[in-house]
């Protein structure tokens, strides 16, 4: 199993809603990432979890709240978002220490904030 699975694939929410994005991998990877990607732009790093602990927060607004309940699961809780938060949210994972260094990406969750 070399997959990173993200749900939902599409999400539309109002600015007062609370929703969550979910990411799952069963490759035994101990580093998991959230990226935000706007159209025709490269992904921008939001958060990194290493061994289930938050290790990097790239100054992301508190309306985005990550959670890593276990080594296979990563959530991104969304609350009081703004229309400019509409984007593709990509999850990725990587082995904790590796000689190859590649990230495995999910298909992304397309978020639209009305």
């Amino acid at each position: 199993d070399t997959e990173v699975t993200q749900t939902p694939k599409h999400l539309v929410m109002g600015m007062t809603n609370k929703k969550s994005l979910k990411c799952e991998q069963h490759m035994g990877h101990r580093a998991m990432y959230w990226y935000k990607q706007k159209a025709k732009k490269p992904p921008e790093l939001m958060f990194v979890y290493s061994y289930e602990k938050l290790s990097i927060n790239e100054s992301v607004p508190s309306r985005f709240s990550p959670e890593c309940p276990n080594s296979s699961l990563l959530n991104l809780h969304l609350h009081a978002l703004q229309p400019e938060d509409s984007a593709l949210y990509l999850c990725a994972s990587r082995r904790g220490v590796t000689t190859t260094g590649e990230l495995f990406f999910g298909e992304g969750s397309r978020l639209t904030v009305l």
């Binding site: 990877h29 101990r30 580093a31 025709k40 732009k41 490269p42 992904p43 790093l45 990194v48 979890y49 290493s50 290790s55 990097i56 593709l88 990509l90 990725a92 990587r94 082995r95 904790g96 220490v97 590796t98 000689t99 190859t100 260094g101 590649e102 990230l103 495995f104 990406f105 999910g106 298909e107 992304g108 397309r110």
Partner: protein
């Protein structure tokens, strides 16, 4: 800090022809990884090819190969026998080795269109 530059925002190529995508990077590190990722309209980022900086031999994966020039800090991707399915956004990326939380630094991407 590391930077990655892709100077070709868009490119096109005829089916079955060969195309080369450029990438340069800036780093003071001696050991690192370089990647090319492909993102088709279906949006999943897929690893195309990777190169370890300590390896002098250029990486190849079927129709995809790289020209890695460490001294020049250049890492171009050559796609041979282009296929319609190669139409995608291609991102060059850099990573320092180490623990799993090392961020991946992306270039701005090159949009490749393969024309029938």
């Amino acid at each position: 800090a590391q930077t990655v530059t892709q100077s070709q925002p868009e490119m096109s190529v005829q089916e079955a022809e060969t195309v080369t995508l450029s990438c340069t990077y800036d780093t003071s590190e001696n050991n690192y990884y370089l990647f090319w990722y492909k993102q088709p309209p279906s949006r999943q980022m897929i690893l195309v090819i990777r190169q370890e900086a300590y390896k002098q031999q250029n990486a190849t994966e079927n129709r995809f190969s790289v020209n890695f020039q460490k001294a020049a800090k250049s890492f171009s991707l050559k796609i041979s026998d282009s296929q319609l399915g190669d139409t995608a956004m291609y991102f060059c990326a850099f990573m320092k080795p180490g623990s799993g939380n090392t961020p991946l630094v992306f270039g701005k991407g090159t949009r490749l269109s393969v024309i029938a």
